[in-house]
Symmetry: C2
Subunit: 331 residues, 2 copies
């Protein structure tokens, strides 16, 4: 039994059935009773179509992330979905990969699906050239766009970011005041977060009179071997006694590099991670890392979304969440 | 502009517009042209609602998994979503947690959303008491249910599993023929997979005259500390020189146990993982683990789903995929 059958049985229009289901609009008490009786007699559950028809909304949010097999992103998606469900929203998931064109296509596809809003998860949706972010602004002309761990300025765009700059500054400063003489930064993709982290490290180094230039950034390919190779190359280019990594996976791979090169950690090489993932708890030595509060960020993103869709007047366009250093034994 | 506006502008019923959009049913050429012209003039993209209305399908598949922050499940979700998208399906995600009641509620909720099919990801949707799986059979009365890494018998239920039994038998046999005298199995939750793995280990032990009873199964709580505690308790109960683990995370935690107890791996304690996750590549020593082909399984699950929804006559109700042992340095 669907909404058509009910309309037919009640001898009314689909729109009338929809109004009764959604409790909206004027319907005579007699007609309402008749429709509700038919619904009950036929054990009909108004489905998503019917509700969508009635409200112009399926209470569905599109979640775009590069790759759920990334530790940080998968945890973010988990908490986002849970918080959205608690607020009565479905989560339509799309794993876009890291390619710029694919990301743009995925966003366009998501807009065609009548979602109420879209959440871009992770810092890799932001291009360094701001004009390249116009695809996000175009999307925001249609529905509100929420960015978790990325920030783009524009109408109808709401961002929740971690204060990567400050915590990276603090971590670099902590390292420089406890023995580090030169810092290498290991990253995988150039992203909004990496740029903020690099700025923090650069400023801390400048304060302490330590050189930190483009030479001190190692771009690592995928896989443990890729990280080892990048660090070997960097070591031929610059001297470093400390590797600050973009995430725990890179840091765990850097531990493998140290092992292979016969460098003892932390006495000969200090290594820090980022994300406070499960990896940081199982390496030897345990990683010094950064708790960037993925659960709190996910929850905050959903809160902002719920308030925004409810047309609340006071919705923060950019919420910044502070991160903490988690001291391990690798630094 | 929505389907109502088009119907109004063309002075036809919504059903007629829907038939034109979906290219189904009889519509006079004149009416069809008129509707198409209005659609083009207004730059109207038939949205998911409209398509849903017309075809009784939104080409949406519900993906249920316990927790995307689990390494295996998050990778499965990534590959499932990618393969579904390539086949033109949306993925509605629901992370249900491990509680039986929550899983049942989540499945019921998903059914109310007019999905074309549902995929249950991971072995923890199956209860050991088969009658407790009736909630899956009830769901299958409404839409096809696909299980990845779990198997329940029933009409309209299609399962893709890994041959956990055989690979566990082979791994146990390999260990027993290369020095292991007694095996402990470390698990977190009792699931379809663990039961198959335990059966394989038990049979290999029996063949080699090695005792393997309930005493040789350690139930680990969440977290590294939980695993260490469980192994300490087990060591007071039984002697073991080998720990076979349900997944790589448990194995990585077991390495921490060995470290804490001053046991050298593999000479004093041999440890194996499962899932061939990123963890197995960053531990020291590298883990011996099992590649249970999560990508192939995800792809196969989507293939079966696509053929099933296309009403192909030849659809395998249970596909079993073989796993490989990946030899590391922890055994």
């Amino acid at each position: 039994m669907n909404i058509y059958d009910i309309a037919k049985a009640a001898n009314v229009s689909i729109a009338t059935v929809s109004r009764v289901i959604n409790g909206s609009g004027k319907v005579s008490p007699a007609t309402r009773d008749k429709i509700l009786r038919i619904i009950q007699e036929n054990d009909y559950t108004p489905n998503a179509f019917a509700r969508g028809l009635g409200m112009g909304s399926m209470r569905t949010v599109g979640i775009l992330c590069a790759n759920t097999s990334d530790l940080y992103l998968s945890e973010a998606v988990f908490h986002l979905e849970n918080n959205l469900r608690k607020s009565g929203f479905n989560s339509l998931l799309c794993c876009t990969g890291y390619d710029r064109g694919e990301k743009e296509n995925a966003l366009r596809l998501m807009l065609s699906k009548s979602v109420d809003a879209v959440i871009l998860v992770g810092s890799n949706y932001i291009e360094s050239e701001d004009s390249a972010n116009d695809y996000i602004r175009r999307a925001a002309q249609q529905i509100p766009v929420f960015m978790m761990n990325g920030a783009v300025k524009g109408e109808n765009i709401y961002c929740v970011t971690c204060d990567d700059y400050t915590v990276s500054y603090e971590l670099a400063e902590m390292l420089l005041t406890t023995g580090s003489k030169s810092i290498l930064f290991a990253q995988r993709n150039n992203s909004y977060s990496t740029r903020r982290m690099i700025a923090g490290i650069r400023d801390a180094c400048a304060k302490h009179g330590v050189t930190f230039s483009g030479e001190h950034i190692a771009n690592c390919e995928v896989g443990v071997a890729g990280v080892i190779r990048a660090l070997q190359e960097a070591s031929r280019r610059v001297k470093f006694d400390t590797v600050m990594c973009f995430n725990d996976l890179l840091a765990a791979s850097a531990l493998k590099y140290a092992q292979q090169e016969g460098l003892s950690v932390p006495s000969q090489l200090r290594i820090s991670g980022y994300d406070y993932s499960v990896l940081s708890l199982i390496t030897t030595p345990l990683l010094t890392t950064v708790d960037n509060k993925v659960e709190l960020m996910s929850q905050t993103t959903v809160n902002v979304l719920v308030h925004c869709l409810a047309k609340d007047l006071l919705v923060s366009q950019h919420t910044v969440i502070s991160a903490n250093i988690v001291k391990g034994h690798s630094t």
